[in-house]
Symmetry: C2
Subunit: 426 residues, 2 copies
């Protein structure tokens, strides 16, 4: 498949948190899957590249979803009247347990991957379940989709109930090693394993210690949940009496950034300033999941504080506690909860602007994947073409205004084309 071409259209991307670059009728050059930059006039050296003309359409980087659960997609929008721990026990654990059955998993995962293929995300970091065959199945489907993702087989050797719990730490470790070897044998090009302890209440100390060693020896990133709900935090205090905080408990197990290996922590709603320092020191990526945090009545993460203090930060849909696979919606939700945080909690915490939310969903989360989320020279070429003419048949808005309207209004059906590392998905 040819991965060198030029796209013409109305280009829009973040250069930094505050700096949005727009070019009307601009040219975007992709060479072997890497952006050569965005130009008002096409440089001569690219004049023989194939030109894909998307004039009048909005051309933006692919979006990044730092946190979602594959096995929860088929019941998203259900049980939203419950809080986290009740929701887990009533819907999540029983449904996730069914992924033991590979036919069931095939039905659900096939629709899940079809949906994310049509969504604005080009990169994702996904929780599967504890089931090895179903996790490999999901990775096969993701590989086939053309999207680039991390997928984690979930570790949980306690507190899952009879149907969703591994027999022992040893059993969990052995299955993890078998999974990693199976993945190696598969030789995926765009689907990567990530160590995934569900959260501390689900993993014994012994298991966490072992996972940390596996992580170092296989050189893998980690994803987990941190400080989502106040009941959960009290539980972790009980479970880890020797830790100063929930984040410190993960750190004691070397599960935060470690030896240059990355970590994503979802939520961080109730993170204290001391924990925040730790997350910053350890280069943790915070996956902000505002829809989920509202649906489960968890609270509002102090995102302005995180930004001001220079934490690494991206967005997650957190399906199924989030009800949508769209990172555009996550941008809106992030803006909205930041406004409520400003109004109701801290009038010094300025609300997020549309531009800042766009940054979080592109460059912010993109950094987890390397040079991603921008069209600057040298960035991997993930790109969305959005036909926004249905919102503005009168062409009366400038590109930045159109971007805001796309964030608020775009549906999957408004996406005309999607490229991942230069490869056309549709």
């Amino acid at each position: 498949m040819k991965k060198s071409f030029v796209i013409k259209g109305d280009i829009c991307y973040c250069q930094s948190l505050e700096n949005l670059l727009t070019i009307k009728d601009g040219f975007l050059v992709c060479q072997d899957g890497i952006s050569q930059g965005a130009f008002a006039n096409l440089p001569d050296q690219y004049s023989d590249f194939e030109l894909l003309d998307f004039s009048n359409m909005l051309i933006i980087p692919g979006l990044v979803d730092l946190h979602l659960h594959g096995p929860q997609n088929h019941y998203k929008g259900l049980g939203m009247d419950l809080e986290l721990l009740d929701w887990l026990n009533t819907y999540t654990f029983p449904e996730e347990a069914k992924f033991k059955d590979l036919d069931f998993a095939m039905d659900k995962y096939r629709l899940f991957v079809e949906e994310i293929k049509r969504s604005p995300s080009t990169r994702l970091s996904i929780f599967a379940s504890l089931h090895l065959p179903a996790t490999i199945l999901l990775m096969d489907l993701m590989e086939e989709s053309g999207l680039i993702s991390y997928v984690g087989r979930v570790n949980m050797d306690r507190n899952g109930g009879a149907d969703l719990e591994e027999d022992s730490a040893e059993d969990s470790v052995n299955t993890t090693l078998a999974w990693l070897e199976a993945v190696k044998a598969k030789g995926y090009e765009r689907t990567f394993p990530i160590i995934t302890p569900r959260f501390i209440p689900s993993c014994s100390d012994q298991l966490m210690d072992s996972l940390s060693k596996i992580r170092s020896s296989y050189k893998l990133p980690v994803q987990s949940h941190l400080s989502e709900n106040q009941g959960e935090i009290l539980w972790v205090q009980d479970l880890c009496p020797g830790s100063k905080s929930y984040a410190d408990a993960y750190d004691q197990f070397k599960m935060l950034g470690f030896q240059g290996l990355k970590t994503i922590m979802a939520h961080c709603v109730w993170t204290s300033p001391e924990e925040e320092e730790l997350l910053k020191d350890k280069d943790v990526f915070v996956a902000h999941c505002p829809d989920s945090n509202t649906n489960l009545s968890s609270g509002i993460a102090p995102i302005r504080r995180f930004l001001d203090n220079g934490l690494k930060l991206g967005l997650g849909t957190d399906v199924g506690a989030g009800s949508s696979l769209s990172i555009f919606k996550a941008m809106v939700d992030a803006i909205q909860v930041s406004k409520m945080y400003w109004r109701l909690v801290d009038q010094n915490a300025k609300a997020l602007s549309a531009k800042e939310a766009f940054y979080l969903g592109t460059l912010g989360g993109g950094e987890f994947f390397g040079k991603l989320g921008s069209f600057a020279e040298g960035y991997e070429f993930d790109c969305l073409v959005v036909d926004d003419s249905r919102f503005s048949p009168w062409s009366e808005w400038n590109i930045e205004e159109r971007l805001e309207r796309v964030i608020y209004l775009a549906q999957d059906s408004d996406l005309v084309s999607k490229f991942v590392r230069g490869r056309k998905i549709f």
Copy 2:
């Protein structure tokens, strides 16, 4: 057009705030536009009615949108980084002023009415603009759509700026009278005028006094805005030094419920307990517009308190400060902000359940239109047929669970059919 028939499907409607009735494979009887009730087995006397078989689809009452702005639809999702008064001056007033041009109005209103026709709403209460010809045009289009609505020509004789302000109270009154006479001459069957002072800052005392007299003599309802934003409230205190509160100011002009004539007040975010008493005494319908209140950083209305105290309450999309015409989304937003209110403001104010939000969007707001929002015998037959098979191809959820998922996930394209007072819209 035949307005007597039977619908077969999975029926779901509220009998009260807490009481949801569901019938799997039930029968819903419409006779001359009026519901004869929902039945598990079809009573003999209706056996010769035409049967519309929507088996396995969800059959629910049409939704009610108590507050939105027709002239704001074409720029929804824009300028959301501003607060109310800045947003009005930067986008709303300049855009609304353009409705002076009837060609411009035709372009925008035609798309607006097409969109609400495809939306889940069957009844609406709409602000037009101050322009008489454009308001009549909107009413013509609404009449043609088959939906039932109130439409208000907006009165504003101060603080609109040079381009969106009537010359004087007298001028505003005369145009209102001319509009009401024009409407009378039109003889609409389902499109009704409603007195619409924009809000107190836009209307002089003299104008309010005159509108109140017109209201009494024409026997018309009123719609306006109340206590949306703290800056606005301070402004009203300055403008009406003789009033005890913003609500009291409207009451002094006899603009709340009066002589059996109804009133809708949008927002009521910062309503005090004393004002709440007044709204209750005067039978005011509060139009709760959570998306708008979040987008403009206005705050969160104390909906649980309103419900506990027995206020009349429905939902509004408030497009364009709200970004969507879907009352399903307004239900989700109402649930979400009530959760944040509970978490961040008042732990005694229990969050709204999905069922309660569904009540607000059907029976709650429906009462403004009479017997509406239920399928109980004697209610007007407004009905939506929703194909939710795309969310649950495995038929694994009961009707109440499916309703929750429809609220969170349904898009207009999931609506298979829509009836208003027994008339099929599509």
